[in-house]
């Protein structure tokens, strides 16, 4: 297991997960969310090729009200 930050909270996740597997393990769907790792956008078509590393800071964002 490795420690990562997900939306600001420390979580333990399996090693060598790609983003697709990570969001599945965390219980997210791929639709309606966008992902950034260490403040860099990860496009949905690169989820399979992007491997999560120890101490990665992952942001998973969804639509909300805005002005």
């Amino acid at each position: 297991m490795i420690k990562v930050s997900v939306n600001g909270e420390i979580k333990e996740v399996s090693e060598n997960l790609n983003v697709l597997a990570l969001i599945k393990e965390l219980g997210y769907t791929t639709k309606g969310f966008a992902v950034a790792i260490n403040t860099t956008f990860v496009a949905i078509d690169t989820y399979a090729d992007t491997i999560i590393k120890e101490n990665d800071e992952i942001d998973i964002l969804a639509p909300v009200q805005g002005g």
């Binding site: 939306n7 600001g8 965390l26 219980g27 997210y28 769907t29 639709k31 309606g32 969310f33 966008a34 992902v35 950034a36 403040t39 860099t40 956008f41 496009a43 949905i44 942001d59 998973i60 964002l61 969804a62 639509p63 909300v64 009200q65 805005g66 002005g67």
Partner: protein
Amino acid sequence: MTKHMQTNENTWEIGGKRLSSRLLIGSALYPSPANMEEAIRTSGSQIVTVALRRQSANVKAGGDFWNIIKSLGIEVLPNTAGCHSAKEAVTTAQMAREVFGTNWIKLEVIGDQYNLQPDPFETVKAAEVLIKEGFEVFPYTTDDLVVAKRLADVGCKIIMPWGSMIGSGKGLMNPDNLIAIRKQFPELKLIVDAGIGKPSHATQAMELGYDGVLLNSAIALAHDPVKMADAFKYAVEAGRLGYEAGTMQQREFASASTPTVGTPFWHQFNEEV
């Protein structure tokens, strides 16, 4: 029905879209989602701003909010609210493009937490990157002419100077600055964004020749948001019509509007007294 409504001659183009409403409306701070929906529909606005925030896995992405926005069938303008650097804003814009399926982005990079004043340096830096990546950038900025010039220099076709601080409702703090930007950039689309508190503020902005106004709190925080949305619809239209009609020149002294010829009770004796 007035002539311009019948002929729809007041349509305008922004970001590659032809629209009739010049009111851009926010989706936050309403008493309820149903109230938000009714207010947006009543406003006649064809552009609504939205945002992205962290969300936990057990919440359906965007929830009912996003479904309501989609059902409105109008243009969505995602923002980068809360970003404090060009890097954060660029990443947020890229995420928004994927989630919302639009290359439009309301670029907000905040430079001061107290008055939420935009950071002009980071805003210009982010705008340059985003334009190269194919975004249609709607940059929120101050009423500083030189910042507007820098934004235009990096390719912004739209500039959104503030009227006053976000959520303050103080109206147009520096109309002269807004006029200077309008005169300097006749070819750009200019939107007054932030600080509008009541319908007359929106009318004033439109009378200055601005192409539109963007507001949220003034409608959402009104006692009756739906009625206020209606008021803003007419205020924006009135201001635009006033601008197009051309206002009269101000005079230093009074000038009677009723003809003096034939004024009753006047006679030559008056001159002799």
